[in-house]
């Protein structure tokens, strides 16, 4: 679809309507948190960010969210592909499974992991701990953010014409290069939004992580658990500034990925 400048008052009205809705829904709350975070100036925010426990929490949150995002991106594209391009027995079932993590109460998801991997669990690991340790946090984050990439890429794949793929393949291009040269440019935008949503969701996850992490400060406490603790301790500045950091990162990731897409588009001409 081609981008145009709004031509008549009706179109401007439409833009204003959307902007007003988004402002009321998103901008106002963001403003409220930002305002709360800087209510005593920058120093308390700096202190919060320099705290060892906070830094550790942020680091494990980012690293584990990135791992969860990588896993979900690779498998998400595969799932989307299989669902969009293949017809097989049980496809409907597989398709319905994808959205489940959203309806799954995060508390129950965490509890399920304890039933599986906890003390006297069905699959209690013998060599290293899964729950109340890092693998549990990664697993929880991966689970809650699973649907995004496949749900973002799916509709785009379905809307793409299939002929160029077949033509390229028939002309002797390998499957891999056909995918990268023909399919990937088409689904890029979907992948980008999928990745950003996945990352954002894993960064912000609380319910399941809280159940499986144990929340040891400076060890298994994630950024959102810190936020929860800070809210409880009436440390609003701490809670809001860390929330803003989490939010800023996903905005940043979206900008970086859009830049990446823009450069790729240009390279292709």
């Amino acid at each position: 679809m081609r981008e145009i400048g709004p031509k008549n008052p009706l179109q401007i009205l439409l833009i204003l309507l959307v902007l007003a809705y988004a402002a009321a829904l998103i901008i106002a709350p963001i403003y409220a948190i930002s305002d709360g975070a800087i209510e005593r100036g920058w120093q308390p925010i700096k202190d919060t960010l320099q705290d060892d426990g906070v830094q550790h929490a942020l680091r494990i949150t980012f690293e584990f969210s990135i791992i969860a995002t990588l896993l979900n991106t690779v498998f998400g594209v595969i799932i989307a592909w299989v669902l969009a391009r293949q017809r097989f027995y049980g496809r409907t079932l597989v398709n319905a499974l994808v959205d489940i993590p959203f309806v799954f109460s995060p508390v129950i998801a965490g509890y399920t992991m304890i039933v599986l991997f906890g003390r006297n669990g069905w699959l209690e690991p013998t060599t290293f701990a899964i729950v109340f340790a890092y693998p549990g946090i990664i697993l929880a984050k991966t689970f809650v953010a699973l649907p995004f990439v496949s749900r973002e890429v799916g509709p785009v794949l379905e809307s793409l014409p299939i002929e160029p793929e077949e033509a390229a393949y028939t002309l002797g291009a390998s499957r891999w290069s056909t995918f990268w040269q023909i399919v990937m440019p088409g689904i890029w935008v979907g992948v980008i939004y999928g990745v950003v949503l996945t990352l954002a969701r894993s960064l912000g996850e609380f319910g399941a992580v809280a159940v499986v992490s144990g929340g040891i400060e400076g060890k298994t406490e994630t950024a959102t658990m810190y936020v929860y603790r800070a809210l409880h301790d009436r440390n609003r500045i701490g809670a809001y500034s860390i929330s803003l950091v989490l939010g800023a990162v996903s905005v940043l990731i979206l900008l970086v990925m859009s830049l990446l897409k823009w450069r790729l588009d240009r390279q292709r001409g």
Partner: protein, 285 residues
């Protein structure tokens, strides 16, 4: 039109004449299915086991009581309403974002995902700070309508609108961007109005994306917990949603009941996804 490709084979889905391709097709399918099995089916098995651990009668009793029923109803009602509003506003937003140039668009586009990255607990507190009885907005509404927003169903709706807003936008936007502009232009050259172009050309193309986004938004609304626990009053039968009820049961040590309600929620979501998939499949046939 492009939608037809849905029923056709693709790159990895060719006839038997290419044995290597069949291998690729099966390995991809195996990867997708096993990932979903490990991450999603296994937890469902655990929850089913826990839900039915003490037999069918106990399971039935745990879901067939007034409090569980009204919690479920409240969740479904608020999630569905929020999904409808999010779908309409989300589609509009995506359309505006793709179609029109306006100042600040890039920034606006980047901020849309924020509701996800903010920990939902903070979302809840934010709503309290914005619409609580101490604030201008909150007290204004309470005084003029006699209704309280927070700690009541309207508060739940607000939270769900916030957390679900990005879904429809982000599913519809990439499809709109990929949309073939020749058709749109041809239609307009032939004298079709904007409105007609939208309904005839654009809407059919983005329909799968809208449905996918609406489903995600609805599912997310059903499962939302972090923000709701702060803005809902948690009064049984008045402002207690299903996820909060589940949490209550987990906390009071009744894993069976918690699993039972979870199963019902899962079944509802599952049925909706399957039936929409079925309806779509029939349309294409």
């Amino acid at each position: 039109m492009t939608v037809k490709t849905l029923n056709k084979g693709g790159l990895w889905d060719r006839p038997f004449s290419f044995p290597a391709i069949a291998w690729g097709k099966w390995s991809l399918r195996l990867l997708a299915v096993s990932y979903l099995f490990l991450l999603i089916a296994v937890p469902i098995i655990v929850v089913s086991y826990k839900g039915f651990e003490h037999g069918l009668t106990v399971f039935w009793e745990s879901i067939n009581n007034r409090i569980a029923y009204s919690a479920l109803k409240l969740s479904l009602r608020t999630a569905a309403t929020a999904a409808v509003i999010n779908t309409i506003m989300g589609t509009l937003t995506a359309y505006v974002l793709v179609k029109y140039r306006f100042p600040g668009k890039a920034i606006f586009n980047a901020f849309i995902d924020l509701p996800f990255a903010l920990p939902t607990l903070v979302t809840g507190v934010m709503l309290v700070l914005l619409y609580g009885p101490q604030t201008i907005v909150g007290s204004f509404i309470e005084e003029n309508t006699g209704h309280r927003i927070l700690f009541a169903p309207p508060g739940i709706m607000l939270a769900l609108l916030f957390v679900g807003y990005p879904f429809v936008i982000r599913t519809v936007q990439p499809v709109l961007m990929q949309l073939d502009l020749n058709q749109e232009e041809a239609a307009q050259t032939l004298g079709a109005s904007n409105w007609e172009t939208f309904w005839r050309i654009i809407f059919p193309a983005i329909r799968p994306a809208i449905i996918a986004g609406a489903l995600l938004s609805f599912a997310r609304g059903l499962g939302e917990f972090g923000s709701i626990i702060i803005v809902a009053g948690n009064i049984p039968m008045k402002s207690q949603t299903a996820t909060v009820y589940i949490y209550t049961k987990v906390e009071s040590g009744n894993m069976q009941a918690a699993s039972g309600i979870s199963l019902v929620l899962l079944a509802v979501a599952f049925t909706i996804t399957v039936s929409i998939d079925f309806l779509r499949g029939r349309k294409h046939a």
